[in-house]
Amino acid sequence: MVALPANKLEIRGLDVSYGQKRVLRDVDLDVPANQIFGIIGPANSGKTSFLRALNRMDEMTSGMQVSGQVLLDGADVRSWRNVYALRARIGVVFPLPVGLPMTIRQNVTFAPRMRGQKNKARLDELVERCLRRAALWEEVKDRLDSLGSMLSGGQQQRLTIARALSQEPDILLLDEFSIAVDPVTTMRIEDVLKELKQEMTIVLVTNLVQQARRLADRTAFFLNGECVEVGKTESLFHGDHRDPRTVDYVEGRFG
């Protein structure tokens, strides 16, 4: 008998609005630990807003309000007094690679340095480990001290993944990471993610239905601020009791 994995995240009655506009309504779902959790849905369905609610990024977005519960290991993220420590446990990769205006090495060591790590040997070791895990090490090992912005788009996106890994997060949130990345690099990153899920929980927002199908253990389908369906990925694509909107979307009939 297979033990059910513990839930890393439990979302209960999550509402998100910007000013008067509700963009996410009453979302309930569980994200099991050490899995890839896919979120698919057309534009404006609230996927990015969902991710922002997870690590309390709403607090830095003016006008964004979140209500309901986000439980991380059973405890509401809102109960964390130190939101910075919370965010350190949750790595984020944005749709367009945001290389900070510094060298490759400085990009990867940004967060550890910020937390006071000064030991050069440990930082060097960290740089190599994170870049290897992001499948970028071989390409940049000889130019770690050149500007991150000199890399190609796909390399920059892997750099942001390496950076997100630098704090050994429990959770990795990826928001349409492959938007600016070529198909070959996308495949490499997908392989990386499959490896990474042994160590962390991954929430993958994607507008490529097939990407969710390839990677995700479970998938949620968002539409116009509603979580229409959530379940094992295969059952979203082949299940018998699917919502007709889900069927339309995964079969490419709209969006």
């Binding site: 830095m60 003016s62 910075y84 919370l86 965010r87 984020v92 900070l100 910020m114 500007l147 704090q167």
Partner: protein, 304 residues
């Protein structure tokens, strides 16, 4: 043959004329600068070639141009006057301006931000004679009272006044530089758990470094060239200052105060214009540096 593509219509002519006029306006700025430079240099030319002793001019603290028997044209005290006042002004205004710029760009929102920006622009528009007046009538007795000194018109007074004068423009330019840092940088750092202060110190300030340096340099240039307020607040006495409570005389103020009483073409007249050339060259160098730094910043950003 009168093909469609050969017909010159109204829009074509207007475009041509507008182009010409705009070109003239643009080029006129260069012509003005060049002719000012030529004019000032021409006035100073006689003095520079005949009477000027460069060593004395730059290193003698005695400025005695009106002596019949033994005129001395040493500008060291004047240079020291300008440098001490400008230096103190920068000491005061750089931190205030950067602080204000950071507050406006990173913390203030909505109404507060708008009101602050308007107020700062208004401050920048206060005429310098008004600042001089404040130095004379408010700062002077205040300094006498607080520090128990006989005279309140000195380096301290002029430095504070000049600092307050330079602050608005520095704040405005520094704020522009901070505003140019993409929000995505702030967001990425924040998502990694950076605090507000860490974002400012480790991401925003380093990215805006060029613009901030330029802001400071332009502030320095402003202080350097300021005349009226310094004339009124500094005490205007030739002195190598040893403390902030010494009165000094600035290069600019010397020209303003003496030029009217000088015989056209006399060595004194030429000496004042030589000071003018010096000021022109220095402010030119400062502004050029600031400009190059700003441009360098743009180029760098262009690579992203």
């Amino acid at each position: 043959m009168n093909a469609e593509f050969d017909r010159l219509d109204r829009a074509w002519y207007i475009d041509r004329i507008a182009k010409g006029l705009i070109f003239l306006c643009g080029i006129s700025a260069i012509i003005f600068i060049l002719s000012i430079f030529v004019f000032i240099f021409a006035q100073a030319f006689g003095f520079i070639t005949e009477d000027l002793d460069v060593g004395e001019f730059l290193t003698d603290p005695t400025w005695r141009p009106t002596s019949e028997s033994n005129p001395v044209y040493g500008t060291l005290a004047l240079i020291a006057g300008t440098a001490s006042v400008t230096g103190l002004a920068m000491l005061i205004s750089v931190p205030i301006s950067l602080g204000a710029a950071i507050y406006i760009s990173e913390f203030a929102t909505g109404r507060t931000k708008e009101v602050l920006k308007v107020v700062i622009e208004m401050l920048a528009a206060i005429p310098s004679v008004v600042w001089g007046f404040i130095g004379l009538t408010i700062m002077n007795p205040l300094i006498i009272q607080i520090f128990d000194v006989p005279m309140g018109l000195n380096v301290l007074n002029a430095g504070i006044i000049l600092g307050l004068m330079a602050a608005p423009i520095m704040t405005t330019i520094a704020e522009d530089a901070l505003k140019a840092v993409p929000d995505s940088y702030r967001e990425a750092a924040e998502a990694m758990g950076a605090t507000r202060w860490q974002i400012i110190r480790r991401v925003v300030l380093p990215s805006a470094r060029n613009g901030l340096t330029a802001a400071v340099l332009l502030g320095v240039g402003r202080g350097f060239g300021e005349t009226m307020a310094v004339l009124m607040a500094s005490g205007h006495s030739v002195n190598l200052p040893t403390s902030p409570f010494d009165s000094v005389r600035a290069l600019t103020a010397t020209i303003a105060a003496e030029l009217g009483e000088t015989a056209h073409g006399s060595p004194h007249f030429g000496a004042l214009f030589t000071i003018g050339v010096m000021l022109l060259l220095i402010t030119f160098a400062i502004n050029l540096t600031a400009d190059l730094i700003i441009r360098g910043g743009w180029k760098q950003r262009g690579h992203n």
